[in-house]
Symmetry: C2
Subunit: 340 residues, 2 copies
């Protein structure tokens, strides 16, 4: 697969007359080469691709990379090597920091290109298997945690315990810091678990990483009549959005479908984020189910659907599943939505 | 303190005729405002500083920020607001991603400036107290883990268990992913803990985060005669470097002192990273004890000293302490170097 990615990118480069593509983001380099940098590295995609890496990463890079490795000495040396190969027009990633951009900008003609991000949008069978396995580990671990029998524990303790169970079940790590947000903390979409025993409702947003690939789910356990009312609206929005997913539909249309349901009930101002995001080696990838993203859905994209309603200072509800785009949208995993 | 930081930066800006300083990195924004973004944010330091943040962060930002918050709507709206205030020349952080740089580059005259990084080099009493507390939590937790009584456990299990103990002892989290690298894994400076029971030697590189501030230590437990020989060289390098730390000395001179000891014994090619780095809200900050960093040490800088010798495919030894620069270098914490 890795070879195919490089070939596709070389085709992109040729079409726009680039001599090379400079990658710096660790997950992009891992995607291309199977070597996951731990310090810093520059991957140059050209007919003869090469990675310049730090001295301290040489052993790990040589052990893992499918493409050739050179020890990085200095930017002037790197630029000299590229110039000797008559490289002048270079595509760079959108995320390249400006201080690194300036190390190349005097010697080369640089432009931002999203070839690598586009390449990563469509998942291979192997990638989908890894995301599915990560999701199953995360969901089984959630069941094993049995949060309702542990309400005397703190948010932090339960978040850490979930991490332990996920590792026991084969995860490398969490795919992001687990959110266990209860009581009024649940109105903060990115709440940090606190050393306080669980309030109500209980919002859990968690994922496992398996062979580098992420999973992402959210469940909210509700109690009062008002919480149930909000839950039902969020679930309706979530289900309607997922049912509308199919190749050919624009991402922003799925966002609109989810948002319209919430607006119908008068909560448009309380849905304070996008409807979802792609995932893979990173927990947030392109494209997004957002108001601005006009990417057209294709088979084998994998995105989350996670509408939420947040009542500031009071409580919040979010429900999130990860969807594999096939002829229609298929939910990955099988965890029920109503927990209590 | 926060006000003083803003005043110092405003002075830097005036001296170089800037109208504003645009900050994007989360720890820089947290340093200035006490609000730690969870999604994205832009902090504009000017006479009347302001933070533009995502809708989903508005509640958390309003609860924590010492400076005013506006909801980010779009880059064109943000730029319009800045232009209405006659802002034209803007300093930006070195780490600003190029795609964000381009959102501002058409409307403003941008230059990279390290004012914020320089400001963060000198730690306040409060910051040093937090780093000291983080270090004590991490070191006490290491003792509590009692790794020598748990040699049947795996690298991953012990790394996770250390995280649990650190949280029990008051840490928010690890300050970076704990490294427990044993046997031949110890020759990889950034090894990832594996699901295998402990080999020898045992290298542990770990830290706690306390109120946002990091600690960082490494200990290596050695067994064979050869391992002891390498250990003694690394410890000599570590001790000599620390003894040479005082205000007025250049960072690269401390690196040279540590490196020269290792070279004397013929292992210069096996010391494959810098001698140390500053820490604070981030685990890696400026300045560094590296071959290229000519920053002059000042009182109240806080840097690690972590020489290492790595015998590829065989084993590695690293010893790391965190140093508070006073009239001389003072080691933070009191964990012995020889564990077994």
């Amino acid at each position: 697969m890795t070879c195919q990615h490089i070939e596709n990118i070389l085709k992109n480069l040729k079409e726009k007359d680039y001599d090379a593509y400079l990658l710096n983001q660790f997950t992009n380099i891992a995607y291309i080469s199977n070597y996951f940098p731990t310090s810093f590295a520059f991957c140059i995609i050209k007919d003869d691709p090469i990675i310049f890496t730090s001295k301290m990463d040489m052993e790990i890079a040589k052990n893992n990379s499918s493409i050739d490795i050179i020890e990085f000495e200095s930017f002037s040396k790197l630029n000299e090597i590229l110039k000797e190969e008559n490289i002048s027009k270079i595509a760079v990633e959108p995320s390249l920091p400006i201080n690194l951009y300036e190390k190349f900008n005097n010697d080369f003609d640089l432009s931002i290109e999203t070839f690598i991000n586009n390449e990563r949008m469509i998942k291979s069978k192997d990638e989908i298997n890894k995301i599915t396995k990560a999701t199953k580990i995360a969901q089984n671990s959630f069941k094993e945690l049995n949060i309702l029998l542990n309400k005397s524990k703190t948010e932090s303790e339960l978040a850490y315990e979930l991490g332990r169970i996920m590792r026991n079940n084969g995860a490398e790590s969490e795919s992001f810091d687990t959110i266990i947000a209860t009581g009024s903390n649940s109105s903060l979409p990115h709440s940090t678990p606190e050393n306080k025993s669980l309030g109500e409702p209980i919002l859990i947003d968690w994922g496992a990483k398996y062979m580098g690939y992420c999973s992402d789910n959210t469940r909210t356990i509700v109690y009062t009549e008002k919480e149930h009312e909000i839950f039902d609206i969020v679930l309706e929005s979530h289900n309607k959005a997922i049912k509308s997913i199919k190749p050919g539909v624009k991402c922003l249309d799925i966002d609109k479908i989810a948002r319209d349901i919430i607006s119908e009930y008068g909560y448009e101002k309380n849905f304070i984020h996008s409807t979802g995001h792609s995932l893979g080696l990173d927990i947030h990838e392109a494209p997004n189910f957002s108001i601005k993203d006009d990417t057209i859905l294709e088979k084998n994209m994998v995105l989350t659907v996670e509408p939420g309603i947040y009542l500031e200072g009071n409580f919040g509800v979010r429900i999130e599943d990860t969807i594999h785009v096939q002829n229609k949208g298929k939910i990955i995993g099988d965890l029920e939505h109503i927990i209590n």
